[in-house]
Each structure stands twice: as C-alpha cells, then as structure tokens.
Symmetry: C2
Subunit: 435 residues, 2 copies
C-alpha cells in the first residue's frame, strides 16, 4: 500500500447505538486528532444502524447514513469495517458477522456470547476471506487482555489464566463485603443504580464470565473455544455470613473464572472462590475486572481495569479499529483455526484443591458428628471448622475448610448429607484459590 | 506474501549471550512448537555473537554460527532480524542497531538506555528503511506495557502514565518496609543475592527508571522522547524511619516514575513517593514492576509482572519476534517520528501536590519554631506533624505532611533551612501520590 493510499480514512459502519455504540462515536469525535496520528489515517463512521432512530443519543445522527437493514451494512462499497454492537449470540449480530466477513470486510465486535459460541466458525470464515475478525471489547472491557494474551504473552506456554471477568458480580460481592449485607439486598440496589440488569441471570449465574473465560482459554492455550466445557456456578447462594467467615480465615470471596491446561486436559470453571487477602485479585474492588496469566517464562502477569461501560468498551473497540487501520491483523485466535488443539475436558473430580464448605444446620446435638462422619467416609480431611453466626433461615452457620484433596471426595460427602434433616438449607461449596 | 513463503523460518542473529540472551535461546527451544503455531512459522537463531565463547551457558553453542564481529551480524544474508542484548546506550549496541536498520533488517532490543537516548533517530532510520524497530523488553521486563500503551490504550488521550519501573529499588524498599531496616543494610544484602549490581547507581539513583519512563511518556502522549527532561531522585536517602512514619500516616514508600502531559507541558519525574496503602502500586512487592495509565475513555489501566530477569525479559524479546514473524510491525513509537510532538517541559515548581518532609534535627528547644516559621514564610501549609523516632545520626526525626500546594514553595522553605545548625542532616522531601 502506498503512503498516499494510507491517508484515506478507514470507513466504519456501526450496528447498534446503545451505550457502547454511542461511546464509540463520542470517542472517535473526542480523540480524533490523536487517533489519526496513531492509526496513520482518520477513522470515520459513515453508516449506522440501530433499533430506534428517534432516541436522543447526545450527538447528531444526521452526520451518518442511516441504514434500516442491519445486514445491508455488510455490503456497502463505502465501508471498510463493520462494528457490531447489537449483542446476542445469534440473530442479527451473527447474520451481520457472516455477511460482513463474506464480503471481505473487517469485522469488529464486543459480543462475547457470539464469539464464545461462533468464534471459531467466524475466525475460519475470516481466514478464508483474508480479512480480520477482532473482539478486544468482548472480554474485560477496556483492559487489552485479548492483545495481552494473543501477542504480549505469545512466547509462553501458559498453564493458567484466571480472573474477575464480571463487573456486576464483583460489584455485588465487594458491596456485600463492605456492608455485611446479603445477596438479595445488594442486587436490588445494584439494579436500581444500573450496575445490574433487570434480569441479572447472565451475570450472577456466571454465564457472562463463562463466555469470556472460554475465549481467554482458547487464546492462552492455543485450543478450540469450548464454552460448553465451562463448569458454572454463580453467586446467588453466597451469604453475607460466608464473606464474614472467609475474612476471618484470611480470604475474600470473588467470582473467579479459571482455566488450566495440562496433560490431563482442559479445565474451565466459573465459581465463587475464596481468594487469599494477599493475592492481587483480592484488591479488585467494585465493577473492576482483572486477569492473571501464568507463563512458563514470564511468570505471573496481572492486568486490571474497568470491565464494562461506555468509555472502557469503546476504548477497546477503537483499539481494534486502530489495529485494522495499521494493518496489524493476524489470525483471530492467534493462529490458524486448524492449528487450534481440541483437548480433552479434564476430569474435574480428580482436581486437587482446598475447599470451603458452609452448612446451615439445626441447632441440636449430633449434627456435627453427622457431618464429620460424612467427611471421613468420603475421605475429606478437615483443616479448620467454625460454628458461629446465624443463617438467614434461622439455622446455625457451620463453616469448614478442607485440606487439599480431590474434588470428587467433597462432592461425595455433600451427596451423602443431601436430604439430612439436620440441614436447614443447601450447603455451599467454594474452592480456595491456591495460586 | 504467499502461504508457502510464510512457512520459511524467521532467522535470528543474537548479539549478547548474558542472562537475557541465554534466556531467549532457552525459551525458543522450550516453547518451539507453540511459538511456531503462534508466529505462523518457526523462529530460529542462526548466528550469535558474545564476548566470551568458552563460557558454559547451559546449551550447545555449536548449533549456531559464531560471529566475532558484532556488526557483521547486521549484513548477513541469512538473517531476517537482529536481536541486541549487549546493553549500553552507545558503543557496539548502537553501531549494531544502525547497521542492522541500514541493511533493512528488523531490529529487536531490550536496551532501555539506547532507546531513551537514540530511540527517535533509530525509529526514523527504521521508518526510512521500511523495517521494524521493537523494544518491548526495554521497559518493565515481561509486562507487555509497550504494546499495552502503543496499541491497547491507543484510542485514548492519556493524562498520566506512572509506575514502579525498577525492580532493584522496589526490592530494597519493600525489604526495608518488612524488616524495618535502613537502605545500606538491605543494599548490601541485595547485592549478595544478585538483586542489585556491584555498582548500583543506575538503579538506586533512578537513572534506569528514568530511561523507561521517558520511553513510556513518548508512547503515552505521542511526544518525542525527552530523557533529559526527567527530574531525578533516588532512594539512597530513604530511611527506615521514613517508611515507618509513612506507614503510620497510611502510606508506603515506592520509587515512582510519573509522567503527565497537559496544556502546560510535559512533566516527568522519578522520585521516591508516598503511595496510599489502598492504591494498586502499594501492593507491588519485591522485584515486581507495575505500570498505571490513565486514559480519557478507558479510565485506569494497571499492568503488573516481573520487571527483569532471564525468563520475563526473554518473554518480551520473543513476543517482539513473533510480531515480526506475523508482520505486525508498525511505527516504533506508534506514529511516524515526524508526528511526535515536542512539548514544553512543564514548570515543575508550579505543580501542585502534597508533600512529605522529614528533618533530622537536634533535640533542643526552638527547632520546631524555626522550621514552622520557614514553612509559613514560604507559604507551605502543614497538614500533620510527628516528632518521634531517632535518626541514624542520633538526631530526632521530625516528619510533616503538607496540604496541596506548589512545589516551589516547599523548595523555598527547604532552601531557607539549609545550613541551619538545628539540622543534623539533609532534609528528605517526598511527594505524596494523590491519584
């Protein structure tokens, strides 16, 4: 490409003008001069599409060509890149992605669900079409962690990647921690403040974090995305009492997405965990996100920043656009799709770790003997035990930590206790992060 | 480039086989298969040069062509990239850099001093020759912070970039903190353990951190590197008592490299600072490095990892090589050299901040009145004062923090007190990080 061609603007079509789409327009306006210098040429939105043309978004829509048919953006001859900010793993977003790539244009998205479910097929299509698929904004908002793993840590065999991947859950857990309150109260408040959706399931049940984790695992290990292989646990059953007891033991509670790869296969899990107070993840407060990667030469890398919202997500989208403008666009998952390995799913039951167990029990003799017998019979070794505090259901909180042992032993002990009249509620299990 | 050409190995000449050079060879051996998949082709060292051919480096040198003349690496027809790990801002490293770029080959280096002093000239030469200059390993070891600023945060106007850029100083300060010991004792121990050089000046006087800061500032702000504009202060005069008093006030002491750009110009400083205990930099222990960048859309980004050593530095060097193999090699400082601005140096005296001041004074009446009068006359407003603890010289430690005010007022107060018989030693000033 000659220098004169390079000063042509990179022309963008934008599908979706919600919080993030509006943020992209505002960012490109506010930082225009610097972005032009960094990208080597201007980046200009030429066409837009959204559900509602009449809504006030704080900027003049008439500067752009309004397009009613989302998919029509893909074939416009005046567009170099389509940016998809509609959301949803299938539907119009996926149709647009396929059409854009088929027409040989670059495709940039913040859509974690679509990448988790269809990322490999889209990457293969982009590879075949010789164009770019970029999705920095899909994981951990403004933190350049896709780039950090795909390029920054590329020289390393990574053994683990893990982190705090959902700002809503971290906001709720750190507020429960600060206020000593229970999940339901904080969720209602978070919804009122806009930190949680009206239907919070995707966030609080761990699905959103699992989307992101499956993408990070692919980049970290050079494996095919395996969203269905992620073991899922959410934060609905974390009590204020769990957080208080964890703190007394030297831990805080965080929703941790963790992926590991070794000879036994790929292990992926999103679950509330006990994190040692000295660990970098313990300092991650509110709606922040953070990612840790462990490499065989670099050691531990830690990235932290804002995981969502207009500014941070727009920052990641435009970083992708600058890469496209610079022509720095290799394979979406760091290597050709055919080179990605398809590992076995690791046997989760064989994984050795320490556990936190909390029972809500009736306040009567013999309960402790029953529980400890179940542990003994299942081969679970108890490290510490606290019987203190009241559960919301009026029962007594009984908290244990175990020595390191296979997860299946703990599962067996809990199964054995299921339905026992001594239990006033369902037990809570949380792994202890030992890294 | 066709697919078949891409499977040709990327051929490397390596100058310097010390800790980092040896690490690069070991890393390319250990992670060969994964790197080939990620880079799209093998990366192979073909020629090497070092001072001493006979030293045992833990691998067989005979696999490589040994070249006695360093500069001859630059013109070998079987080499695509020269990796320079000799060190030194001038001399053979610079000669090799110029010769490599002049011959149109890519140049990868870990040499912060050379980049700080000659980076712009080398970048211009690389631009003219249409080749790549890459230096991820020059700043913060294994942390991909050059990439993080150059690409990850590229969409943002950054107002600040700061961090812990020298592992030796952080090792010394955090050991002083943990042990309550003084600088000299810990330095001697750090030297014995290999965490500090026999001549520690470059590290403990802040020069090394200033090299790195000047590079980060250029990337962050789109400005020309201005190493001479960095205000320098080292850690030699930090007392164990300073760290104890800072802790009592809610701070720890870190050597912080800080760069800011605004309408008044570019401010760059390396100096021991008081860091609030809740700030991410306060958790950075031992020889770790960390960098914070504040962007107008992304907010605060935080990167942490190992700042030096064989593995982390080799990780960064090979990340650059993978970028070169992938063809992802834009301008060295994110934009053409001619586009880099040449800002005024900000008036450091006008900068408003809070300060920590420590005096070692004779234990007699009137000293406090003398000091507070000097503060009053210079217009410095005192926020808190502690007179407690003994200085190593037998004097009393008198510690103050000031309200926010212009730095020149504090300088004037200290000048006024200079030579006063009440002072048993030189006062220590440290800014308080208020970000």
């Amino acid at each position: 490409m000659t220098e004169s061609l390079k000063t042509e603007p990179l022309k963008i079509a934008l599908a979706g003008l919600g919080t993030v789409g509006g943020g992209v327009v505002k960012l490109l306006d506010a930082n225009r001069e610097l972005i032009t210098r960094r990208a080597g040429r201007p980046i200009e939105v030429v066409a837009i599409n959204a559900r509602d043309r009449s809504r006030d978004r704080g900027f003049d829509l008439n500067r752009f060509d309004w397009v009613d048919d989302t998919t029509a953006l893909a074939t416009r001859s005046d567009v170099d890149v389509v940016v998809e900010l509609i959301g949803g793993s299938d539907g119009p977003a996926l149709t647009l992605a396929k059409a854009t790539i088929a027409s040989g244009k670059a495709f940039v998205t913040a859509n974690k669900a679509m990448i988790a479910h269809h990322g490999l097929a889209l990457a293969q299509a982009a590879q075949d079409a010789g164009t770019a698929l970029k999705y920095e904004a899909a994981v951990a908002g403004g933190i350049p962690v896709i780039k950090g793993l795909r390029e920054g840590a590329a020289a390393n065999v990574l053994s683990q990647v893990y982190g705090i991947l959902n700002g809503t859950c971290n906001y709720i857990l750190t507020r429960m921690e600060a206020e000593g309150s229970d999940f339901g109260d904080v969720l209602a408040d978070a919804q009122a403040l806009g930190f949680a959706e009206a239907d919070p399931s995707f966030d609080v049940d761990g699905v959103d974090a699992a989307h992101k984790l499956s993408i990070l695992a692919s980049l970290a290990f050079g494996t095919r995305i395996d969203f269905d292989g992620v073991r899922l646990g959410g934060i609905r059953n974390v009590l204020g009492g769990d957080i208080a007891q964890a703190r007394a033991l030297g831990f805080c509670v965080r929703l941790v997405g963790l992926a590991e790869a070794d000879a036994s296969g790929l292990f992926q899990r999103v679950h509330p965990c006990l994190v040692p107070l000295g660990h970098p993840l313990a300092h991650v407060q509110g709606a922040m996100n953070a990612v840790v990667a462990e490499g065989n030469f670099v050691g531990r890398l830690f990235f932290e920043g804002r995981g969502a919202g207009e500014g941070p997500t727009a920052s990641a989208v435009v970083a992708d656009l600058i890469d496209v403008a610079r022509g720095e666009v290799g394979p979406a998952f760091a290597m050709p799709v055919a080179s990605l390995a398809a590992p076995e799913t690791a046997d989760a039951g064989a994984r050795r770790e320490r556990s936190y167990l909390r029972f809500t029990v009736a306040d009567r003799p013999g309960v402790l003997a029953e529980i400890t017998a179940a542990m003994r019979d299942a081969g679970v070794s108890i490290e510490s035990m606290i019987q203190r505090g009241e559960a919301p259901d009026g029962g007594v909180l009984l908290v244990m930590t175990t020595h390191e042992g296979p997860a299946r032993a703990v599962v067996a002990a809990l199964e054995r206790l299921e339905g026992s009249p001594s239990m006033t509620g369902k037990p809570m299990w949380m792994p202890i992060l030992d890294v």
